[in-house]
């Protein structure tokens, strides 16, 4: 081992011994520090994961969705509108969709029943069969090959054989889905054959999306036209709003922590000043003292950061952020439950690291440096 490495090892050994000597104080600081990182990281991980889920959702979303509005509410749309939209220049792949919500009283869960259009979830299942999301399968306790029983709004019992469970690459999208054949869907909700839930389409030239949407609005004044950009903006503002509210609430706590950390870090006790004096008197260089204290600050702040971050990761991705769920998920706190797909954003980690670790180490080093450059005799007096 080189002399340099041995010096660093000794400094770290001394640092650890020094931390243990003030175990109660350092443990209290570590606990508060960890808690702050934990809450901040939870918010960041959660909102980032939700945004990613939303992005996955939007990736498969149609460029334009057309919904018929009746008395201000979403209504079924006539199949004839499909042809009307297809005639608009620039529109392509126009098709009607069938989907609806179903409240499962047995589980208190909301399911989305849908007829797949062949794009995102493949071809529709055969009549009498279904493909369901992981949340549905979990809450109903069914596995492929077994039957899923659903009671229709007209109190008719439907028996669908579970053919497969959807891949959980993004559970927020798929967890509540129940895919079925068109005839099963129409029979279940008692929907006439000449209407759809809404109409979706693509646009030949992506730069023409707004123009095509405007043309549809003009041609079909009883319809609401929603573009993918509109959905994206809605998601962003919803998630930013939630994150913002929580961060604002946390602001007070963070501010209190900053004062606490600054007080702890900047106010050298008489004992610490004496110790620095002794170390310098027996031959430690100013840089050795600063390094030792830097290690001490690094152990506390990085220890708190890593512990807080790992706990937040576990909390978000293994326990569905149970402590902050009502604030963060909002309307999404519905059954069946969904598990977020683990996502870590390097920039977010770096930002959190910078705003929690760097200020603490800086606040620690300044007073140490001031004490360490003083004559040891003066420090000990």
């Amino acid at each position: 081992m080189t002399v340099w490495l041995r010096r660093q090892k000794r400094l770290i050994d001394y640092t650890v011994a020094s931390l243990l000597r003030r175990a109660a104080r350092n443990f209290a600081l570590l606990a508060v520090y960890t808690l702050i990182v934990f809450v901040l990281a939870t918010v960041m991980l959660f909102t980032h994961a939700l945004r990613q889920e939303a992005m996955v959702l939007l990736d498969g979303a149609p460029e334009i969705t057309v919904q018929r509005i009746s008395m201000g509410r979403h209504d079924l749309i006539p199949a004839s509108y499909v042809d009307a939209i297809a005639d608009i220049r620039g529109a392509r792949d126009v098709r009607g969709r069938l989907w609806g919500y179903f409240y499962d009283t047995a589980n208190g869960a909301n399911y989305t029943l849908m007829v797949p259009d062949g794009d995102r979830y493949g071809a529709a299942p055969d009549v009498g069969e279904t493909v369901a999301g992981a949340g549905v399968a979990r809450s109903r306790g069914v596995v492929p090959g077994k039957y899923l029983f659903l009671l229709s709004p007209r109190a008719k019992l439907f028996k669908l054989k579970l053919k497969d469970v959807l891949d959980a690459d993004s559970e927020i999208v798929t967890t509540d889905l129940v895919l079925m054949a068109e005839s099963d869907f129409r029979a279940f909700f008692d929907v006439a054959p000449d209407v759809h839930t809404d109409i979706v389409l693509k646009v030949r030239n992506p730069r023409e999306v707004a123009k095509v949407a405007e043309k549809i609005s003009n041609a079909l004044p009883d319809c609401r036209v929603v573009t993918r950009g509109d959905i994206l903006r809605t998601y962003d503002s919803v998630f930013n709003w939630r994150e913002g509210i929580l961060l604002a609430l946390l602001g007070g706590a963070i501010f209190a922590f900053v004062i606490f950390a600054w007080e702890k870090a900047s106010g050298l006790s008489a004992e610490e000043r004496r110790e620095i004096g002794i170390l310098k008197a027996v031959g430690w260089e100013t840089s050795d003292v600063i390094k030792m204290k830097m290690w001490e600050g690094a152990v506390v702040s990085l220890g708190a950061f890593l512990t807080g971050y790992v706990l937040a990761y576990i909390h978000v991705f293994y326990f569905s952020a149970g402590l902050l769920e009502p604030v963060l998920k909002g309307w999404a706190v519905l059954y069946p439950r969904f598990e977020l797909t683990p996502q870590v954003d390097g920039v977010q980690v770096a930002t959190l690291l910078f705003f929690t670790v760097a200020p603490y180490i800086a606040a620690t080093l300044v007073p140490i440096w001031r004490a360490a450059i003083t004559d040891p005799d003066a420090v000990m007096r």
Partner: protein, 234 residues
Amino acid sequence: MIVLQDITKTFNEGADNEYTAIHGVDLKIDADRVTVLRGPSGSGKTTLLTLIGGLARPSSGRIHVNGREVTSLPERFLTHMRREVFGFVFQSFNLIHGLSVLENVMIPAYPLGGPGRELNARAVELLETLRIAHKAGTEVQYLSGGEAQRVAIARALINDPPILVADEPTANLDTALSLEFLDIVRELRGRGKTVVMTSHDPMIWQADLVDAVVAMRDGRIVDSGVDPGGEGTA
């Protein structure tokens, strides 16, 4: 040899509470000998000792250690001298509480980065020499005064410095422990170490092993020693 030329030390210079502790002191301290600075409280002997040992810098004047002028040296070189030329024993021992005896003894050697096993062996050997090895694992706040002093001496010697500087080393000890300390000093002297210490205890400065006694009062030397080497030589 340590040579002090016209040394002055003023605290709080320019402030209302400015105070000059040392006034133009000239002194020579020979190597391989035991020198005692004596005087009443407030006479400036501890301040002079800290200047000799490089713990503080004089306001004016020069100090030469083994022929090298040290007062104008950068902090880094002064640190080097404190680590490898001087070993300090403080009046209140200044051990670091919460650490064991062994850890306290090894602290001055940490920045040198020597092999851990050798350092450990050297520390244990010193503790054995000073008959305190059985307390190696004890935290220093649980030691008696005499034990703490021996640990402080071991710490001062861990880097094998040629000069031992001790400030009122027997102030907190009873007669028996003071005599024990003198035995240790005798042994160090026998090993060729230079020992400079302050004391107002007659048992110390009247001891036969002491080669020179420098009397101080009000920051000035009033008696420059018993050494036949001449005036100003301790």
